[in-house]
């Protein structure tokens, strides 16, 4: 099983504004760091040629979407908190608003399956509504790949 993660950030200003320029300048190096990290599988990209292009979506212009797949929980954790990404994370308040509700969700997908953004948003809604469980969880309340699977619609589809 692979680990899918969705992370939403609520922008303080439009992504092309001067306020966000510092963040946009970090997109290329930090995405390159992610792509080269051990256990990285896939991430949603708006453009193959422009590393500063953020994902265009229908969920509101103020939302920045980060959506990726990793080999396991440790691989993602080590990238997020044990790499140069931590320093970027420390500056988050310069660019993003604090939200009281969860903005990050993870779930397991069969190897080779790339989930859709709509499914990812549904997983986040599930986390908000029901709290962490095998089908939508967080680093704080993780579930391992063996705890879920059978009950997952995505897994069931893959076996058909």
């Amino acid at each position: 099983m692979h680990l899918a993660q969705l992370n939403l950030a609520h922008l303080r200003a439009p992504v092309d504004s001067a306020e966000l320029a510092g963040f946009v300048a970090l997109l290329e190096p930090i995405n390159a760091l992610a792509d080269g990290s051990p256990g990285f599988v896939w991430r949603l990209k708006e453009s193959e040629t422009d590393p500063t292009a953020t994902v265009v979506h229908d969920y509101g212009d103020h939302l920045l979407i980060n959506f990726s797949v990793w080999e396991d929980l440790d691989a993602l954790w080590n990238y997020v908190y044990r790499s140069g990404h931590l320093e970027v994370l420390r500056r988050r308040r310069e660019w993003f608003r604090r939200l009281a509700e969860p903005t990050m969700v993870m779930w397991w997908v069969p190897d080779g399956v790339i989930p859709t953004l709509a499914e990812a948003m549904a997983r986040l809604e599930r986390l908000k509504a029901e709290g962490p469980g095998p089908e939508a969880f967080t680093f704080r309340d993780p579930y391992d790949a063996s705890s879920e699977a059978a009950s997952l619609p995505a897994a069931a589809d893959a076996r058909k």
Partner: protein
């Protein structure tokens, strides 16, 4: 305090086991029997016996390293040891500061008070530094459990995170507070606080110290 913890730590009363444990833990990675035996000044057979006792007690973990040469004649994979990930602690009378610290960390996060927490950590670090009595920073960090080591020409890195459990729960808050604490510590010792910076790597403390100009 559990009996298991006490029994496990009791094993280290034996000086051979203690020096074998330190030889393995001090390397920060996998150590073979021969290497551990040499570091502890005992025979390979005796080292193997005691290392396996430490594995049984959960203080070390063992695994096998593939021989570098492949094919016939390359020999069996060598047994290697590394420090176990789990924590052991014994406190008399029983104390539990980690649970309270975890609750307080959640409160800080809930309030969005990360900057206040960092300022408080900086002040706490300065206090610790001043009570360090002008000793070298490496010595003070070692005493505080960071297990510092020279990282080539780059300066000092730390093998151990003294706040490990909390830094798994609240990495952003705890690593930021740890950086502030280390900066305060340097300041309190009369050194340049700018030497401490975040340079996180898997399995180590997130803070690294750059060299001083005199080094």
């Amino acid at each position: 305090m559990s009996d298991d913890d006490l029994d496990a730590l009791g094993l280290l009363h034996d000086p051979v086991r203690r020096s074998l444990y330190e030889a393995v833990a001090g390397r920060g990675g996998e150590v073979g029997r021969q290497e551990a035996a040499e570091a502890a000044g005992v025979s390979r057979t005796l080292a193997g016996h005691h290392l396996d006792k430490l594995v049984e007690a959960g203080l070390l973990e063992s695994g096998f390293r593939r021989p570098e040469r492949k094919g016939p004649g390359s020999g069996r994979p060598a047994k290697v040891y590394r420090r176990a990930a789990g924590e052991r602690s014994v406190s008399l009378p029983p104390r539990d500061y980690a649970t309270l610290a975890s609750v307080l960390a959640d409160v800080v996060e809930g309030l969005g008070a990360e900057e206040r927490a960092e300022r408080a950590a900086r002040v706490a670090g300065e206090r610790l530094g001043r009570s360090g009595g002008g000793r070298p920073v490496e010595e003070v960090l070692r005493e505080r459990g960071y297990e510092p080591y020279a990282d080539g020409d780059a300066g000092l890195r730390m093998r151990n995170c003294p706040f490990h459990v909390l830094s798994r729960e609240q990495p952003l808050l705890v690593c930021s507070m740890n950086l502030a604490l280390c900066q305060g510590l340097l300041e309190g010792l009369g050194e340049d606080p700018g030497r401490a910076r975040l340079d996180p790597r898997p399995g180590e403390c997130c803070v690294a110290l750059s060299k001083t100009n005199e080094d």
